[in-house]
């Protein structure tokens, strides 16, 4: 069986500004980001023959293609499970390119998630339909367990109970992300670091989560261009080679509410992703210079560090207390400020940051970056990838 590793690369990245009110349609945002990514790669719309996005994007692949002047498409897909599919788009694009289903694939996410439909607001229809997901939600929604913060908080409480973790440990993640964002001009929280006291004083959203444990709500778009590593080497930018990409779903998996498995303190789906990434890339955690860890809510940053093997189970709190995730720490996490600090573009902005770290062009550049690990949304079926120099 031939491995995907090293055969494809991210050749271009593009984004709109990140805001709370973009003032334009989501399709408009998508088009801008795709133009920017193609310009960055030095490709034109006519070079594109594949499109990938993920669920919860209001823009159909064909609509975006039409808008930017992309003609014939021989591959298009929409990866399921929302933010959990951010890196999954790259896996799908890479597989398409590696197999020849397409030559140049654009991945995108565009939404007005603050000024338009806000994912953090209760949607009473979640439990309404007797689809498998509607039935799954029906064990939770009637009790008002209906927002992403609440779903994650339930895991967080058990994790705290079992591992002696405190709200301040979660707060240290928020403080680090805001520190990183404070020196990133593209970040919404540019120039606005916070202290642990700020975190502790911020209002409860769903106890044990404070406001500052929760990512932002943002308007904006990010797009990536994936093609063969070989072609990418001839393009305008140095390629971010896809050393590994994987999706993961665990035993007893549910959408945000996998409370019925043996253990509620892990993210087995991220364990699946991690094992695939290490195996496919041939790398180990010590060979990752910086990581982009999906940070919609602070507690799952700790869990992911454990699932991916950056620290032992139950020890993420110590890793973080020792400054391990800070820009000058053992494993700088989210040098751009993550979704807590830069913007919530459903993980796509994190992939763009990983590409910049590989290129050496990030505003908070980590020294000597060879490999960057990126993860996607957690609590749901998820995905991840490792980008490398080359």
């Amino acid at each position: 069986m031939s491995s995907l590793s090293g055969r494809t690369a991210v050749a271009g990245i593009g984004a709109t500004e990140f805001s709370k009110e973009s003032g334009r349609s989501e399709l408009h945002l998508a088009a801008e980001a795709v133009f920017a990514a193609l310009d960055d790669a030095g490709l034109s719309p006519s070079d594109v023959d594949g499109m990938v996005t993920y669920t919860q994007d209001a823009n159909d692949e064909i609509a975006v293609a039409r808008e930017v002047g992309i003609g014939d498409l021989s591959f298009f897909s929409r990866v399921h499970y929302g933010g959990g599919a951010a890196c999954g788009t790259v896996l799908h694009a890479a597989m398409a390119v590696a197999t020849g289903a397409a030559e140049v694939v654009v991945c995108y996410r565009a939404f007005n998630e603050r000024s338009g439909r806000r994912f953090g607001q209760p949607n009473t229809r979640l439990g309404g339909e007797p689809s498998s997901q509607g039935l799954e939600m029906s064990w939770h929604v009637p009790y008002g367990l209906i927002t992403p913060a609440a779903w994650v908080a339930m895991f967080a409480r058990r994790y705290m109970h079992q591992n002696g973790v405190t709200s301040e440990d979660f707060g240290r993640v928020a403080v680090a992300m805001r520190r990183h964002a404070s020196t990133n001009p593209a970040a919404w929280f540019h120039g606005r670091p916070i202290t642990l006291a700020d975190h502790q004083a911020s209002k409860w959203i769903v106890d044990p989560l404070h406001l500052l444990d929760c990512c932002q709500e943002s308007d904006g778009a990010v797009a990536l261009v994936v093609t063969t590593a070989e072609r990418a080497r001839d393009l305008r930018r140095s390629p971010a080679v896809i050393a590994a990409a994987a999706q993961g779903s665990g035993t007893g998996q549910m959408m945000m509410t996998s409370y019925y498995r043996d253990d509620m303190t892990g993210l087995p789906e991220m364990g699946v992703v991690g094992r695939k990434l290490w195996k496919e890339s041939g790398l180990s955690p010590s060979e990752i210079q910086t990581a982009v860890i999906y940070d919609h809510f602070t507690p799952f940053v700790l869990t992911q560090l454990e699932e991916l093997g950056f620290c032992d189970r139950g020890e993420a709190k110590d890793f973080i207390r020792n400054g391990g995730i800070e820009i000058d720490g053992h494993l700088p996490v989210n040098p751009h400020g993550g979704q807590l600090g830069e913007a919530y573009i459903h993980g796509m902005n994190g992939i763009a940051e990983a590409v910049r770290q590989i290129r050496g062009t990030a505003v908070n550049q980590v020294a000597g970056v060879q490999n960057v690990l990126v993860t996607a949304g957690t609590g749901v079926p998820t995905s991840g990838l490792i980008l490398s120099q080359g």
Binding site: G127, L145, H161
Partner: protein
């Protein structure tokens, strides 16, 4: 309807035409003891009602002819309007409410006077639509005599009405957070309606499973049964929801993952417990909460720990 009215009106006309009914003797003469009880009860300290030259308070005129609590059937008498009242009761006008009472006093009464009284029906009006229900206003007059001298009169009016049917219990606002239910999950919700907390049990291998599903992942059997849970559990994890507001719920509220002794977990609200007192490991017992006219949800209340 018209027929009934005609019938009632005919009875009323007859009663009115009958004029004064027979005179009935008051059980006791005007006396100081009853006056003393009445003035004390009413808080009336007028000196005219005490002493050797005392007179009776005019407003207690009705008291003199009251029959007392244990009525002697042998002494029962019918008043002219009683036939009308019987017919109204029979027609469903069973409700009674007094609407007017006017007294006229011709003179003071002195100790020892023996009174009689007689009743005369004055009229009946109706049917009238009222807030209490449809009814007829019946008016009569009572005259009290000392010997043959009229000493006081009372005009009395009451409404005999058909009580409105008990107002149907107002439909409650539908609870907005409804579960989807299908063939795979109906047994659970049926159980909740019946006050049972049901756990799916595989008919093949006996494995318990929650949330339930159509096929046993262990043995592939689609034969489904259920057991009724003991109804106790312990809090495995919980959250306190503050923001944003959730339709149908008042913030803050608690949602918990509860571990059952049967080996499965269920999610539900913690109720009947101060929010600050919920903890991981807290023993709880199921309680059923009616959310609206159709939906009942199983929730969890703390079990007081044994001392």
């Amino acid at each position: 309807m018209t027929e009934l009215r005609d019938h009632l009106m005919a009875l009323a006309d007859k009663a009115v035409a009958a004029g004064d009914g027979p005179r009935h003797a008051a059980p006791h003469p005007v006396n100081a003891v009853m006056i003393s009880h009445w003035t004390e009860a009413m808080g009336d300290r007028n000196p005219a009602y005490t002493g050797p030259d005392a007179v009776a308070p005019p407003a207690m005129i009705q008291v003199w002819s009251m029959e007392g609590l244990s009525r002697d059937p042998a002494k029962e008498f019918r008043r002219p309007m009683d036939d009308v009242f019987d017919a109204l009761d029979e027609a469903g006008y069973t409700g009674v409410v007094a609407t007017n009472c006017e007294h006229t006093y011709h003179r003071y009464l002195s100790m020892g006077e023996e009174l009689t009284s007689s009743t005369r029906m004055l009229d009946m009006v109706g049917p009238k639509r009222t807030a209490l229900g449809e009814g007829y206003f019946v008016t009569w007059n009572v005259t009290w005599f000392s010997g043959d001298e009229p000493v006081a009169e009372m005009m009395f009016r009451l409404l005999k009405f058909q009580p409105l049917r008990p107002v149907e219990k107002a439909k409650r606002e539908p609870y907005p957070l409804r579960p989807a239910v299908n063939d795979d999950t109906r047994f659970f919700w049926d159980g909740v309606q019946a006050g049972e907390l049901r756990i799916q049990k595989c008919g093949g291998c006996g494995e318990l499973r929650h949330p339930p599903g159509p096929v046993c992942p262990s043995c592939r059997s689609a034969e489904r049964t259920h057991v009724v849970a003991s109804g106790t559990g312990t809090v495995y994890s919980y959250v306190v929801h503050h923001h944003p507001p959730v339709p149908g719920q008042e913030t803050p509220f608690v949602v918990a993952v509860v571990e059952l002794p049967e080996g499965v977990r269920m999610v539900g609200n913690i109720v009947q417990c101060p929010i600050g007192e919920v903890y991981v490991g807290m023993p709880v017992r199921v309680t059923y909460q009616e959310m609206d006219d159709e939906l009942t949800l199983p929730m969890w209340a703390p079990i007081p720990e044994e001392a």
